[in-house]
């Protein structure tokens, strides 16, 4: 009896599978509703990547050109292939007159980055995040080396160091 049962069970499950795929085929054949293909060079002006897309590492800046990077270089140490270089500068606190270190240039070599995300996880102040830009080709590879903190930007007030 289990022999017959196995056969009918098998046929039933096969038909169930076919009904699922058949439904998708009919829908997409006639309406293209669920088609996820992006016809890339045609829609280059309108194509927008989804939020979780790992296009490049960018640094968040608010409207006053302030960022949250303290220059702690946790990201530099976390990066497995030396993509990030942190350059420091000395700033003098006008009230106390004491000098201390702050970020000068957060240098990011896009050409070396594997988009692993370790730097973003390592950052204690969430200063860096994923950008959705996907169109990176250049004719000159020095253009792939970017400074993430914008010129003239400074540390946001209240960022815990």
């Amino acid at each position: 009896m289990s022999y017959i049962g196995e056969i009918t069970g098998g046929i039933k499950s096969l038909l169930m599978g076919m009904s699922v795929t058949g439904k998708y085929f009919l829908i997409n054949f006639f309406t293209r509703r669920d088609v996820i293909t992006e016809q890339y060079p045609d829609n280059i002006n309108t194509l927008k990547m989804f939020d979780r897309f790992r296009g490049e590492v960018v640094m968040w800046h608010n409207e006053n050109n302030e960022h949250r990077c303290t220059g702690c270089s946790a990201c530099e140490r976390a990066c497995p292939n030396g993509t990030i270089e942190i350059l420091w500068k000395k700033v003098v606190n006008p009230e106390t007159g004491k000098g201390r270190r702050a970020i000068d240039k957060h240098i990011y070599h896009l050409g070396m980055c594997t988009m692993c995300g370790l730097c973003i996880e390592a950052c204690p102040t969430n200063a860096i995040e994923w950008g959705q830009e996907y169109h990176h080709p250049t004719y000159d590879r020095t253009k792939l080396t970017k400074v993430l903190n914008k010129p003239g930007s400074k540390l946001m007030q209240g960022t815990k160091e």
């Binding site: 096969l14 076919m18 699922v20 795929t21 058949g22 085929f25 996820i36 293909t37 016809q39």
Partner: protein, 352 residues
């Protein structure tokens, strides 16, 4: 031979031009062979295109749509690329067998084409043992695949070829048994008469449940016979590179590829002839209109091919032991019982 009136005109004309009848015969045969070759190269190309396009829709993609309208010329471009490629091979391959193998596969596929009745008039070779001829010739292709696997001197090819031996020889039995079931029902082996016997009802309804079982068995066995997913462990890409044709390139590879699709076409036509009345229109609605036979035939074949493609993009690949278990423990016993059952039905006159 083809009996359409336009062709008999050509025949008369040739008789007038050429000296004697045997020359005319040879010229006609060569012409038909060339026409079939061209036609089926195109059919193969179109089937590859259809497969990729349909696969696209099953997988929520678009499939090829760049070359020509709806990407129709994509496979033509691919074929041109293959033709222009160098024929490479392994140093330690068995050269003679290595170059012979693709021709076994493609020729056995093309020879089978000759018995296919496209309509009442268009059939090249209406031999009286037609369906038996199909069973005999189509199994020649296994030798080609086996040779390819063996002579490439590559372990992936060898495993692929061995699996073919196991799989195709096993499933040949099931196809044969299913064919026997229908032969019992229609009482003839000749293609045109099998179709003629279905004029009032198609075979799939004539034999009640027995025909239905035979149909299901032959669908499964044909899928296995043409090495398509879920039975594609002959060339299981993830395990064996490309299986038996790993070492082939250029046109030799294209022959294998084309033969696969032509074989699928042939399997579909055999199923249509056996179960769905070949070129007969449903309920005889277009009787008397010329060329409608070919239209219905192609329509039915297209549907069966679509079913094959549907299988392919739904079911996951079987393991080799599962393949053999399916054949020897399920399909074959069911089939034998089914043949006896059909014989009983025919004996008692219970068929429709």
């Amino acid at each position: 031979m083809i009996t359409l009136s336009i062709f008999s005109n050509i025949h008369q004309w040739l008789l007038g031009v050429l000296p004697d009848e045997s020359t005319v015969h040879v010229v006609e045969l060569i012409t038909i062979a060339l026409v079939y070759l061209a036609l089926f190269a195109l059919t193969g190309l179109f089937l590859v295109y259809a497969e990729r396009r349909i696969a696209g829709f099953f997988q929520l993609r678009l499939g090829p749509n760049r070359v020509g309208p709806f990407g129709l010329f994509q496979t033509l471009a691919d074929a041109l690329k293959l033709v222009s490629k160098e024929l490479t091979g392994t140093v330690k391959a068995d050269k003679f067998l290595y170059h012979l193998a693709p021709y076994f596969v493609i020729i056995s596929a093309l020879v089978t084409l000759s018995i296919i009745p496209f309509s009442q008039e268009i059939q090249v070779f209406d031999i009286d043992i037609g369906i038996f001829f199909f069973a005999a010739v189509s199994s020649l292709g296994v030798i080609g695949i086996f040779l390819a696997g063996w002579s490439s001197n590559n372990k992936y090819s060898l495993i692929g070829g061995m699996r073919t031996g196991l799989q195709m020889v096993s499933y040949e039995l099931s196809i044969g048994m299913a064919i026997v079931t229908i032969v019992l029902l229609s009482g003839t082996l000749q293609m045109s008469q099998i179709i003629e016997a279905q004029r009032h009802t198609w075979n799939i309804f004539q034999g009640h449940i027995s025909s239905l079982i035979a149909f299901m068995v032959i669908m499964i066995a044909s899928t296995a016979e043409t090495n398509r997913t879920p039975f594609d462990l002959v060339e299981a890409e993830s395990e064996l590179g490309a299986g038996f044709h790993t070492e082939y390139s250029g046109m030799n590879f294209a022959y294998f590829f084309l033969a696969e699709f032509i074989n699928m076409f042939i399997s579909a036509t055999i199923i249509v002839v056996l179960f769905f009345g070949g070129w007969l229109s449903p309920f005889g609605i277009t009787d008397g209109i010329p060329f409608m036979g070919a239209f219905w035939f192609i329509l039915k074949v297209a549907f069966i091919i679509f079913l094959f493609m549907w299988f392919r993009w739904t079911f996951p690949r079987l393991r080799i032991d599962q393949v053999l278990k399916l054949e020897w423990k399920y399909l074959l016993p069911i089939n034998i019982v089914n043949v006896v059952f059909m014989a009983f039905l025919v004996w008692m006159g219970l068929t429709l």
